[in-house]
């Protein structure tokens, strides 16, 4: 009897209650995180399929596989799905949802029901977006530029716009929940200066979600109004101003880029600290630079519009402010690197993804500086140079960080270890595949290949074939973790509470954690990342 009890799995959030109702009506932030994880994976696969079809078309210069109309729909739906339904919710809604209450030492987010509501809104938005796809697709580009989207496009713009509108509220509610949780739910002793850097970057992300997303909501509402009633708000033919749409759109959508990268930076700060066995170098600067990026992010939207006839002086200011974003970004990269200096660096899978992130984000960031330069920008506008730049940040940066974070906290989320060897191989394949896919696109863009076109000049073919071949390698790199993560759910080794020897409250509770996260409310007595002490004594 007693041996049987010892072997039985302890009660945790996964087995505390059972049945589909216990999942679909849960208010446990950890279960909601898992729901999000499943749903965003569906959208990631969908977006990936659209991308693969595009790369397949682009292996030959002629438009032979899809008509230009179909191709327009492919890149639009790739963008809409990946940005609004994968990248924006990716780390915040899964890892953020799972970890923030635990990292601050709380039993749940401040508003558990609103958290569940946000998932339902996400699903509702997703259903509208899917219905747009199933009915025949959208061809406006993910940016929904007017007056094409409001007047001329004969595709299913409305369901897509409604889907993005609804998903936006899901994002707002997540951000609101995080802000209140960080302000009001911290455990005794968890001062602002002791918050993990992941929480700081999620806090900065939440500020953008809360301040930016309502603006895209009202913009999309105006697009819908204009498309249905056609009163001329954005139609220059009857007195409207299409550029106004672009201003309003980018007022959100540029900060949204930082919604997509800041959480990744938070993950990297955690991972680099843990696998260097050191407190991240310049804690307060990493934390402050997250806030600086959030603030500066609201002041640079005009750099998407250098060629739309915006005033030259406005362009100069936007250009200079865009350069400024490089400062906090560089602070982070330098600090991560400095953290590794004289650290005890190990090469576990999350760290491999972190290495990938730092290198690829640096390339993406530096090419961002080139694009912020007015003259260069005019030269490469609407070319693959831009495509390569933001994929280096979004895929090379955010997706790498997302996978790194998923590996890092997988034992905590599921209570199981993934196979380390396979994981390292997958990380390496992803890195190689990514560079092969998007590296050539910098060259193509600089040579003048325009984006969003299904046919191109024959001299661009070799680099395009290279890029498509790289995409197939990248797909393998993503498929392997998908398989072994599923495998690990039943066959993986049982995870101890703290497999990495990491610091942070989430590692002090069981894996997987109990429903209320901690058996007793934790009391924090030491600063974040108190790694070094013992080992320094050891070495010195």
């Amino acid at each position: 009897m007693s041996t049987e009890r010892r072997e039985a799995t302890p009660i945790n959030y996964l087995n505390a209650t059972t049945g589909w109702k216990s999942w679909l009506f849960t208010t446990d932030h950890k279960r909601i995180a898992v729901l999000y994880l499943i749903s965003i994976t569906v959208f990631f696969i969908l977006g990936g399929i659209f991308a693969s079809l595009m790369r397949l078309e682009l292996t030959t210069p002629q438009g032979d596989m899809f008509s230009s109309d179909t191709y327009n729909k492919l890149f639009t739906m790739h963008g809409v799905v990946m940005i609004f339904f994968f990248l924006i919710p990716s780390i915040p809604a899964t890892l953020g949802n799972f970890l923030i209450p635990m990292m601050v030492g709380a039993r749940d987010l401040a508003f558990p029901k609103i958290n569940l509501l946000s998932w339902y809104l996400y699903v509702a938005g997703g259903i509208f977006a899917l219905s747009a796809i199933l009915m025949g697709g959208v061809d406006t580009g993910w940016t929904f530029y007017t007056p094409y989207s409001t007047t001329y496009s004969n595709t299913f713009v409305m369901p897509a716009v409604v889907g993005v509108f609804i998903a936006g509220f899901s994002s707002i509610l997540t951000g609101l929940n995080f802000i209140v949780t960080v302000h009001k739910m911290r455990a005794p002793g968890m001062t602002w200066g002791r918050l993990p850097l992941f929480v700081w970057s999620m806090y900065a992300t939440s500020l953008i979600q809360v301040l930016g997303t309502p603006v895209i909501a009202i913009t999309l509402a105006l697009v819908g109004l204009e498309r249905v009633f056609h009163v001329g708000i954005f139609d220059p033919a009857i007195g409207g101003d299409p550029i106004l749409f672009q201003h309003m759109f980018w007022f959100y959508s540029h900060p949204a880029v930082y919604i997509m990268i800041l959480p990744g930076m938070g993950v990297i700060s955690e991972v680099v600290g843990c696998f260097s066995r050191k407190r991240p170098f310049g804690y307060s600067f990493i934390a402050g630079s997250s806030l600086a990026i959030a603030v500066l992010g609201f002041l640079v939207w005009g750099h998407h519009m250098f060629v739309t006839g915006e005033s030259m002086y406005a362009s100069m200011v936007f250009s200079m402010l865009s350069f400024l974003v490089a400062v906090p970004s560089a602070i982070k990269v330098f600090n991560w690197t400095a953290t590794m200096y004289k650290g005890s660096v190990s090469f576990d899978t999350p760290m491999l993804y972190a290495f990938g992130f730092i290198g690829l984000f640096t390339i993406g960031g530096l090419t961002g500086l080139m694009l912020a330069t007015l003259a260069v920008n005019v030269h490469v506008t609407r070319t693959y140079f831009v495509v390569a730049h933001f994929h280096y940040v979004m895929v090379g940066g955010m997706v790498m960080a997302y996978l790194g974070g998923l590996h890092f906290w997988w034992p905590k989320i599921t209570g199981r270890m993934y196979p380390e060897i396979w994981a390292r191989i997958a990380a390496a394949i992803t890195f190689v595949g990514f560079n092969l896919t998007f590296g050539p696109q910098f060259l193509l863009g600089y040579m003048g290949m325009v984006r969003r076109s299904h046919a191109y000049a024959p001299e661009f073919q070799p680099l395009n074939v290279l890029s498509s071949a790289g995409a197939s390698i990248l797909a393998v790199g993503y498929a392997i973790p998908f398989v072994y993560f599923l495998w690990s759910l039943t066959r993986g080794e049982k995870a101890p509470p703290n497999p990495w020897g990491a610091k942070g409250l989430e590692w002090e509770t069981a894996s997987p954690p109990p429903t209320f996260n901690f058996d007793h409310t934790p009391i924090v007595t030491e600063p974040a990342y108190a790694y070094a002490k013992e080992e320094e004594v050891h070495v010195g």
Partner: protein, 224 residues
């Protein structure tokens, strides 16, 4: 054992399990509402911004549309809303004191003012409709045919902005109804008055939006 660390209030029926005490719960819900109102400011801010740009682009057309506004009805509505803010504030006060009867009275008064506002608003809409000034329903602008398209855009903004404001009034009335029912079922008092407090914040915010809409839409260039 965790119970020892947490005071008696753990057993308050109003305390949700994930909060330590009622103070933390009140602080959190109040901050949550403030953050939500921040998102609302950005939401209406987008509208005000777009409206301002068109007003700047088409000053002539704007001056011509001003003539069709109803500043008297708008003024009455402003007064109605300010009164409703007072009754709402009193409802919050009596919720803090735990006076069920006065809470009921002031909630009902607030709702009456709210309904009156919407009634006046829709009668204004009806007047505009009779004058063929609704953009997508046979819009006509015979006095200044040269401004036809621009005036249509400006009227579109008028209906869009006041319409979204009215939508918020409807949501507010829904919240007040919910409070009215809740007030009969549970005892609001010094220990627990969060729902009244945060609904009050919301209601005042919707009033303030109107305080900005009224001069922008009705008073500037009014020449009736």
């Amino acid at each position: 054992m965790a119970d020892q660390a947490v005071p008696m209030e753990q057993h308050s029926p109003f305390l949700q399990h994930h909060f330590d005490d009622l103070d933390q719960q009140l602080d959190s819900s109040t901050l949550g509402m403030w953050v939500f109102l921040l998102t609302e400011i950005m939401f209406f801010g987008g509208m005000f911004g777009a409206y301002t740009i068109y007003r700047h682009m088409y000053p002539g057309a704007f001056a011509s549309t001003s003539r069709y506004m109803e500043p008297v009805l708008g003024g009455i509505n402003t007064a109605v809303l300010i009164c409703s803010s007072l009754t709402m504030a009193l409802a919050v006060r009596y919720a803090q004191l735990g006076n069920r009867k006065l809470i009921r009275i002031f909630l009902i008064l607030t709702m009456i003012f709210g309904v009156a506002f919407i009634g006046v608003k829709f009668s204004e809409y009806y007047l505009h409709w009779k004058e063929h000034l609704v953009p997508w329903m046979g819009f006509q602008y015979p006095d200044h045919p040269e401004f036809f398209q621009q005036a249509q855009i400006l009227f579109c903004f008028y209906f869009f902005m006041t319409g979204f404001h009215a939508l918020h009034m409807f949501v507010g009335l829904g919240l007040l109804t919910w409070l009215l029912i809740k007030n009969e079922r549970i005892a609001f008092g010094p220990a627990y008055y969060n729902p009244v407090e945060i609904t009050g914040l919301y209601w005042h915010f919707v009033d303030i939006v109107w305080i900005f809409l009224f001069p922008l839409l009705y008073l500037i260039g009014a020449n009736k």
